[in-house]
Symmetry: C2
Subunit: 383 residues, 2 copies
């Protein structure tokens, strides 16, 4: 199948491009290096050197004997996205092309404006490009579990049937996200749902939890093919950050009470979820929503796990307690459904001691590259 | 109170500016003539000549002895909106500054893009300007009853408490709008709700139904102070359009079965609702939502009322039946709550025969200005 990977340079985009290429799909990866540029501007550069996308594609070809086409440009600009769709005629589109950081989106007005304009603008253009140039294509859109926030009732899988005064209605599950970044994903979902209803688009919207990990089947042991592994406050996901903090001897940055609970998954499981979604596409006029994670942990759970892993590997890991710079509930009910992807065939990789120790050991080999100043700066949600 | 009226040149904006000025508020009206320009580009010019905003303010001063300040510019541009807030230091902001037409938003890709970028861009800038330059100000934002769509359960006033598996949660009432224009209002609500939660803004979001009417206390009998009265398919609201169609001898453009039911209100009641909202502001950190309409009618009800009014005034009004160019339910349950504004003191002006006959008689005096080609073109929701 011809699969377009939008945001193909990112933490998830590049592993996805390789994974789908390895399975015989014809892949084109598109990016504008937004994340690289923002990381440089905010002094949040990553742990490993990652070659540029052209070089990565060449290395992948040398390693696997398969081609990944690369196009660089801004998908929020219509002439560029139209040229990509006209040239490639995608049958499936994986859309990661968004500013991916919650703290960055709360940094200041111009960071917020960039996040809103980029994320909504790309999603809008993808919808229009599908409608005009790839009407039968299937969009696999990355949303976030963060769209739901932390309601006091079970989080169902995308939809909620409400019984009210003796009548019944199935609604898009009500959303209340915790950052502007997460809110742009809510807006994406609203926009997609509207155009699915009126134009009959085929869309799978994946409500993904925080991802951790580095190695995949495709890159195992090949540093130049690793994804961008951010450990800073802005672009790093929590478990990846804690592991680097443990290795650097920096007290783990637990915010507030640490009872904040989310659904997590290994990068390897992200790749499975994307592949399974592509292999069983949504029907025309269907907005299919899956909750994409495999286990729930509180921040305290993760900190304890990293502390224990450090102890096994000879590290004395301390757990810090910081005033919470975010506005969020620090203790709350959390019971989200996540059966859809399991039914499609997902085989989860749980966060075992072995997996965690492997990540810590890998980061230990690169400990001299850690810049401690990048670990915490306390971007505040409140004005 | 210093009240900023954003979109102060529009069908509702200009009457609002006069109404608040007449009641002693210090008013600044801001606009970029977007609606005037789009109307000219799409050959949808209105029934009456409306002087430009500077001239209107001069006429108002001659008539009422009160000043309305006028600023022209694009509120989606930060330097302009910042200069307006810095100069005027508003205590209340009435935000109408959006592309207001559902059919226009479905016309083509560039009309859709303009709608999304303008509407979200202005709302985002208003939020940022409040936060940076008017932290205690109260925003009165015009949403639409169309945000809710036509669910099979009662539409409550902004919020819905859901009982689910023995637990309970109050959510923003789930929304599913029927056009991109209406969807941008859903996105506005999501964005406002996020920033109300994190920054403690004071916001009243008015879910308004279609407005009809022309004369208000402030402009009665003074044509040069009338609001822009659109009768075309793109910018006209349904009852206003039907009245012009009746006068022009054009069969009333009922789409499909005509059972589409909505909540309507007289322009005079819009003004009351805005004033009442300003006089009793939302608290800091409160997103207060009112459903702003006074009566529900189906399209068939409105067509019959206009036919009957025409008969009283010697017009032979025919009712047309057109294939529905929109994608919407043509028969549906519709029971929306609307008690909040009544509790604040709203005294409704219902759509009596007298009111309707007055509108028809007024339009009859201008019948020679009607351009029948503008009445219908059939902008299709489906691709």
């Amino acid at each position: 199948m011809r699969v377009l990977v939008l945001g193909g340079d990112g933490y998830l985009g590049w592993p996805t491009a390789m994974h789908l290429s390895a399975r015989g799909h014809e892949v084109m990866a598109v990016d504008n290096y937004l994340r690289r540029n923002l990381a440089r501007e905010t002094d949040c550069e990553i742990l490993f050197e990652t070659p540029n996308l052209h070089q990565r594609a060449r290395l992948w070809h040398q390693h696997a004997g398969r081609e990944i086409a690369v196009r660089l440009g801004d998908l929020a600009e219509w002439p560029f996205i139209a040229s990509v769709f006209e040239e490639f005629r995608p049958e499936a589109i994986v859309h990661y092309a968004e500013q991916p950081s919650a703290p960055y989106s709360m940094l200041d007005r111009s960071a917020a404006e960039l996040t809103l304009k980029n994320n909504l603008g790309v999603t809008f253009n993808v919808i229009q490009a599908m409608s005009e140039l790839a009407a039968d294509a299937h969009l696999v859109k990355l949303g976030t579990m963060g769209e739901y926030g932390t309601p006091n009732i079970d989080i169902e899988e995308g939809w909620l049937t409400v019984e009210h005064k003796g009548r019944s209605q199935k609604f898009l599950y009500p959303r209340a996200a915790g950052s502007l970044y997460h809110t742009t994903k809510v807006l994406d979902t609203d926009l997609l749902w509207f155009y699915v209803r009126v134009w009959g688009l085929r869309v799978t919207d994946l409500m993904q939890g925080p991802v951790y990990g580095l190695e995949t089947e495709e890159n195992a042991g090949i540093e130049a093919l690793y994804p961008c592994f951010a450990y800073d406050e802005l672009f790093g996901t929590v478990l990846n950050r804690f592991i680097v903090q443990a290795v650097a001897g920096y007290p783990l940055t637990v915010y507030g009470k640490g009872g904040q609970t989310r659904g997590y998954l290994n990068l390897k499981d992200t790749l499975q979820c994307i592949r399974l979604s592509i292999d069983s596409p949504a029907a025309p006029g269907e907005l299919r929503i899956f909750n994409q994670f495999v286990e729930t942990f509180s921040v305290n759970d993760l900190a304890e796990k990293v502390r224990a892993s450090g102890a096994r590997l000879g590290l004395d890991v301390r757990i810090g307690r910081l005033a919470n710079p975010r506005k969020e509930m620090e203790e709350h009910y959390y019971n989200p459904a996540h059966t859809g992807l399991l039914e499609l065939g997902l085989e989860p990789h749980p966060l075992t001691d072995e997996v965690l120790d492997g990540m810590v050991a890998l980061v230990q080999r690169y400990s001299n590259r850690i810049v401690p100043d990048r670990i915490f700066r306390g971007v505040a949600w409140r004005k």
